[in-house]
Symmetry: C3
Subunit: 323 residues, 3 copies
């Protein structure tokens, strides 16, 4: 009698790219979260794993980022792996090199590349020439798959499951690749209801709404965060409403108040629910909420660390070594 | 019969912050120096220790530094640990994030944070929200505790002890956090006499003098480096006198000559003594002194490496693993 | 009966500097290539070596570089070693520190320094004060020894040997330290014939030609890449012809066409030969050539990784640990 190996669905991720939240099966998502949870438990118990020793990750960031960049670097380090930090500002790209040639150079010594680029098409241009796995860490208005995976991991870690939850995505739903990826990823779960709460100017794009509806998710849109929504949600997922997206200051001021999470607002929410935010936050969550046990946005970053560790282990084909 | 564990007083440092030179007991200082010496001996014998494998240090530097920054990074590496290098110039802080939120982000994946900030209050703001140890690598005009610990380690390594020494701190004693921290730390030892040698405009602040006196150290101030001082000191600790601190060039030129260590000056010093400097030096020590065996300022940097290794081991709770 | 240890000639490299391609004996070159090949084979088989654990490399780059910089960093990481990344832009050098003092600071914690500097004399200034090995990664118009070693490694890996080959160096031969180092290094081999192909304004300097001739290499110069040359070479080594080197656009346009490698040109070359380029390339090799199996310029970067690993192992005295 043979036993099924653990994390069997993750074998298919070995050596492949991570481009979109839509590329994963429910089984793969579940196993990635299970692997992330295993790594988090081990860390808590002081038993770390060294499975990526002598492996090299290269962050290829053409757009500024501190949080995602350093989270990936720490994930690599905690698995015993190394990071090569490129001096991009002084790069050969200034000598007129193409993106493809730069990618080939990095690919010549990297075991895995983590890439962020302002142009949504750049990811495909890079993966067309590289032999090693490339992980999308944000491609323009496109996707940010590791953010949405860590968002789902946060929900599971905090509330036990995503199935059956009522979730509200709040803020600028038009420009945020984070909420686009998350909405798509949530279609893998039996979400009870999904609210899109945004001012009309910043509403969720129709194609995302269509995609979500086509996968039979119960969805509704609202231009304000009503008491009804607030009192029913298990997850309040807040994003920034940037002043500069509005035509006038008056427009901004008129909607701003509806999207700021305050202590008063939290009094209307369930006793057991979580507030999440991809961070950095500016004014959209009042600091007075920080000490509320339901404020999960700082814990969310730490879940992200373990989720990214799980993903790196998977694409580098080391899940068997973790077990 | 049970044996006392070695480095027992360092257990109290585990998980705690390193903010000020004044926070350490004499016992802790002695054991830190003993641990640094042990690590240095092991390094010389080619037996290194891997006690910080998979641990992550994050340097959070809001002020430029090459020497302290890289000394800490190398200390971590030599213990098998990893460093996450933040792209601070492109940081989320430019998106209006608070220092506290940036600190929470770093704290979510770091095992230890090393921080430098131009504002003396920033250290407390950061440690009010972090769960992992933070080491002060210079906070404005405040303190620079690891520099003064390495200064004391240098004295012990070069001269066998600090007790009984005659020490002169020379140069700009008004603005240098290095000499402020060092003066305070020296009150833990039976220093024979401490000279503060500075032009009147750059004299040691009264509160530091008061602190040192209140701890019963024999202290005197002088506006010039007299032959009497020079011939009596075991340690000549030189700091920069920056031209821009003076109201006029004439003022600067009038005092400059008294604070430059030359070969001629060294002829008046004891045969067994050391010249120290926190570096970088510009003109205040002539390069002709570099080959003098009493010139300890370059060796001082290397002592700093092992002292910082000892401190990282202590705050990360790994002293037992070193023994 | 005792066996000769493997890589015996590399023992002499331990602790020493790598300044010039001319410093190596033929035996040392052969053994470096053999060691690089061994490391490459091991990597392919998934058996990596950890021989530089806890060793610290510091890249001291005073001139921009992405390729060489990151290749060295990855080489260190793949051997289990660490890299300390200096924030040079915010360096103490801006406080007026001398190059020598900066070098001493780095030398106080580095096990090996990799240096690039626009001034050809800087390398000697640095090595005059450091105790640890320094590897030249390009010193002005001087040398770039690791590039020429990897060039030779590429030839051996792709064609089995350098002895007996016909080689053409093409492009700007006047300003490129890469081709100067390579020409010198090739005098260690029984090269059949060496062509220098460059427009008259960018011809190989006389001293390099003299050096090569004095070592009995068969050499000839040409101002264009003739069919005769093209059909006879085993190695076509292309470098950039930079427009800004010419007095007028007309001058540039008149020669440009002769130095661009196209598919049509490749039709005239041997079936078994390689095209090489130190990269980055801009227009001098058409992208339509990239898929030609004879296009070795991207593979060349990967050979460079293993060659630099071999060199780091040698200067850090760890060849015995690899065997």
């Amino acid at each position: 009698m043979t036993t099924m190996p653990r994390f069997q669905s993750l074998v298919a991720l070995e050596g492949g790219h991570v481009e979109s939240a839509a590329q994963f099966s429910r089984k793969q998502i579940d196993e990635l979260l299970e692997l992330a949870d295993l790594l988090m438990t081990r860390d808590r118990q002081g038993q770390d794993t060294d499975v990526l020793a002598r492996r090299v990750m290269v962050p290829l960031f053409f757009e500024s980022s501190t949080r995602t960049f350093s989270s990936f670097c720490a994930a690599m380090a905690k698995l015993g792996g190394h990071v090569v930090y490129l001096p991009l500002e002084s790069s050969s790209m200034t000598k007129g090199e193409t993106l493809e040639d730069t990618a080939r150079a990095v690919d010549s010594y990297a075991d895995v590349v983590v890439m962020r680029h302002p142009d949504a098409q750049a990811f495909k241009r890079v993966t067309s020439v590289t032999r090693h796995p490339v992980v999308n860490a944000g491609n323009g208005i496109g996707e940010h798959p590791t953010q949405s995976l860590l968002d789902v991991f946060t929900m599971v870690a905090e509330l036990g499951t995503v199935d059956g939850l009522t979730i509200a995505l709040v803020g600028d739903l038009k420009h945020g690749r984070t909420v686009h990826s998350l909405a798509k990823l949530l279609t893998n779960f039996a979400v009870k209801h999904l609210y899109f709460v945004a001012p009309p100017q910043l509403a969720m794009p129709d194609d995302v709404i269509e995609f979500v509806r086509s996968r039979n998710l119960s969805v509704s849109s609202s231009s304000s965060l009503t008491d009804e929504i607030l009192s029913s949600v298990d997850v309040l997922y807040v994003t920034r409403v940037q002043k500069e997206r509005f035509q006038s200051s008056a427009d901004y001021e008129s909607v701003k108040g509806h999207y700021v999470v305050t202590k008063a607002l939290m009094d209307k929410a369930k006793a057991r629910m979580v507030v999440m935010h991809p961070l950095p936050r500016v004014d959209e969550i009042s600091t007075e909420v920080d000490d509320d046990p339901r404020a999960a946005y700082f814990r969310q970053m730490r879940y992200g660390l373990f989720l990214r560790m799980a993903l790196l282990v998977a694409v580098l084909g080391k899940t068997a070594s973790v077990c």
